[in-house]
Symmetry: C2
Subunit: 485 residues, 2 copies
């Protein structure tokens, strides 16, 4: 096994937003030229990436007993309004269907901004007895938010085209609480498979999901230092089940309202995946979601065309029958150099260059996408070599992205420091906090940033006993602050 | 191998509509209690049937070079209106989004009734050179029609939840014509896999897809004798490409408008599948789309519970590892009789009854869903026996449904006969026709039925030279007439 020195790896830092737009339009992944603001088109290649990601989501949810369903898009206004907190938060950003043909509708219909109020009236019909519980369903659908702020492809959109929402109902608070934990575990697994680093944060009271008891969010840091929420898990308590009268009969013959949870994830996960791993040459995709894992590029010399192509197809067939997603780039009148460019842009984890000399020697040149390292390997054990390279790439992606993100989480103890750090390189700052909403909002205004909330999980109790970063009163917990999308 | 006499098989004829509503609600496949008229919910089991059907559609389209994509739902009014014929036909049945939050929108947005006018503006951007052609894409999405007539679950709905639409662009009329033929072949394959009988009919001029040159439809006959259109293929010519200015550069440097086709299929295919094969005991599903192919029912005697259950799980594991979708119905406090009822209702192709005596004898009892025939087989070759039963069931389904439908296609020569046949048992009547629109519409009024069109394919030329069934003028072709959904 020979190794060539990899070329210098360029980074997109400092120019992330432009880079992101360029790469998703050039691959293309997502065409943002559709003439309705805040919407876009999943291209053939983009759709395949999306399919890889949704497959991971489906697998993890099905493995844990969630059934896929499909609910209607339209929600009558009176249903959307049933849970008071919920509608208050959504009413300014709902799209309304008011006419069918030329006739005004009797009842205004909302394009779902999320589906609690579409699904829970049916839970009321579906749940009668203890044996109907737990009920655990999910759907992957489009949802709509009339965002008035500047939209941003895949990140802040008016049509969220890929919204996975899970909804569960349980007999007791304890079971619902356990489900929140399972939801969090499922999302942790999904993001690990996407090689995405994250922190889990309990959102402050004033920023939880409308109608929920509390919200735990997954946040990641994008290359520009701004935080992106990529998933949320909500404990709903009995708020919705009371509003929608969802009850089950207990062993003693009495009825009780169910306890509910819901959790959502969107194409933001795909935006984060692209942003975390990509470089100046384009996408870098973890092997599990790469539409093409191995691109075979024929290095053709005059008179050897047929022989080389034949071998390339042989190699592809061998890889495909070993379960790898492999293609031969057999475009005519396109130079090998252009083909390298194509497959680097598309983020194929491994490229194989195959020419007459390789064929004679029974070898092939493998190129790993993240490092662009070239390795010459024997043809016979090539499947194993490719798997090794892919798993090396996968490991490198999570290591690199985690290290990058860890370096952007800072502990600070003064308001000036908060400002300094956020101005210098963004990311997340952690500081001791008194827990008071007024103090929190005052702090947000002072540093022009958002309070993400308090760490969820084992670090929740840290930083107590010292003074709040803003008001000096004894701190009750750590708080996370960031500039966010 | 022993055989027991199968019980009498009850048919739902005469009471089809009630039967259909009952079975989809009881399984349940599709919950029609959602409080927006003309919409419904795919339940967990229904979603799995839907997934089986969409998987067949995806496979056939991908095999023939179509790429899956995803376009936005919302279409600005000025785009929907660009092709004159198209908008004329749809404007009365479009749902309009007029408000975002409390603000009226500058541009009214339509919920797509179909996506030509969403997709073709992007074709205009995507297609430049000959090498961009052919372009063949598809998406599976929801579309909306504000139907004012009586809605009917899965058959006449306001939200079509499962609309597969393919759109293609080509350099020449000949290539587009070949694509129409491929589209028709693809649909023929899909319906064959669903064991659905059909006729292919070229729709009359006045009933073609708005904006198309011509339309070929797939029609099947439902148990009540009424015809259901289950798929359409359209030759679009250059009408849309001129309206949307979609051009490519030819070898000589000149630009030419592309030639287009599109073809669609919806959940009506699933409604037809359920209707064609079901019986009084519930669903009967072809093996390829059955969510559960084999249901193992433990026949438990006191003291033998564990032994029997253990064997059932063993059998299931063996079946699953042989690639079959198998489950054990291990519900407690549910009698075997109720379990039979469940799996007959759900249409599992094969049931296995397994009790202590079978275990001792190394045998099992297999029950085939369509015939309810019981067969006692040896355990060792059980996988082969099950596959044989499933393929027997699949063959029986297409044979039975085809024979049933063939018996409902009648050739007639007078208007009275048309009426008689349609009144007596519905179905499709074929008669000689002069080809004149006025005569056709006169005939439709006289017999209170719809002209489906002329046979597509090899029989197109038959019945010429004799007199038109209505006006007596020399007939140019056969015409098909039916009462339809």
């Amino acid at each position: 096994m020979q190794m060539a020195k990899p070329p210098e790896r360029k980074q997109w830092e400092g120019n992330y937003s432009e880079w992101f737009h360029k790469v998703i339009q050039e691959v293309p992944v997502y065409d943002m030229r559709y003439p309705v603001k805040g919407t876009g088109i999943w291209t053939p290649y983009g759709f395949k990436i999306r399919k890889g990601v949704t497959q991971i989501i489906r697998d993890e949810l099905e493995k844990t007993g969630h059934d896929e369903v499909l609910f209607p898009l339209l929600i009558p206004d009176y249903m959307l309004g049933k849970e008071g907190e919920h509608i208050k938060d959504f009413e300014d950003e709902v799209y309304w269907v008011t006419h069918g043909g030329k006739s005004p509708l009797d009842v205004k219909l909302a394009l779902r901004p999320t589906s609690e109020t579409a699904i829970y009236p049916m839970f009321q019909l579906w749940i009668n007895a203890y044996s109907d519980l737990p009920l655990k369903i999910f759907q992957i659908v489009n949802v709509f938010r009339y965002e008035t702020k500047a939209t941003r492809p895949m990140i802040r959109v008016r049509e969220v085209s890929t919204f996975k929402e899970a909804h569960t109902a349980h007999a007791t608070r304890e079971e619902a609480e356990a489900q929140v934990k399972q939801g969090i575990e499922i999302y942790s697994t999904i993001f690990s498979k996407l090689k995405l680093p994250y922190v889990r944060t309990k959102r402050p009271e004033w920023d939880k999901f409308p109608g929920a008891e509390y919200t735990v969010a997954f946040d990641t840091v994008l290359p520009d230092g701004k935080v992106l929420q990529i998933g949320t898990v909500h404990a709903l308590g009995q708020g919705f089940s009371k509003a929608f009268d969802i009850k089950y009969m207990k062993a003693d013959g009495n009825y009780e309202n169910v306890w509910q949870t819901c959790y959502g994830i969107s194409e933001r996960a795909i935006a984060a995946l692209i942003s975390a791993h990509g470089d100046d040459n384009g996408l870098v995709l973890p092997s599990e979601v790469a539409p093409v894992q191995v691109a075979v590029v024929p290095i053709v010399y005059k008179g050897k065309e047929e022989e080389v192509l034949k071998k390339c197809y042989e190699v592809r067939d061998m890889l495909v029958s070993a379960g790898l997603r492999a293609v031969v780039d057999d475009r005519k009148e396109v130079t090998p150099g252009s083909k390298y460019f194509t497959w680097e842009m598309r983020g194929a984890p491994v490229r194989i260059d195959l020419g007459p000399r390789d064929i004679e020697a029974g070898t092939a040149v493998l190129v790993r996408r993240d490092s662009l390292e070239k390795t010459t390997v024997q043809m016979a054990p090539i499947v194993g070599e490719i798997r090794k390279l892919m798993s090396g790439l996968d490991d490198a992606l999570i290591k690199r992205s985690s290290a990058w993100m860890s370096a952007r989480i800072s502990e600070v103890t003064s308001v000036d420091e908060v400002k300094d750090v956020l101005n210098k390189h963004g990311g997340i700052v952690e500081a001791p906090w008194c827990g008071d909403r007024g103090c929190g909002e005052d702090l947000e205004a002072k540093v022009d940033a958002r309070i993400l909330g308090t760490p969820y999980g084992d670090s929740e109790e840290c930083n107590t006993g010292i003074g709040c970063v803003n008001c000096g009163v004894t701190a009750k917990s750590t708080i996370r602050i960031a500039r966010s999308y």
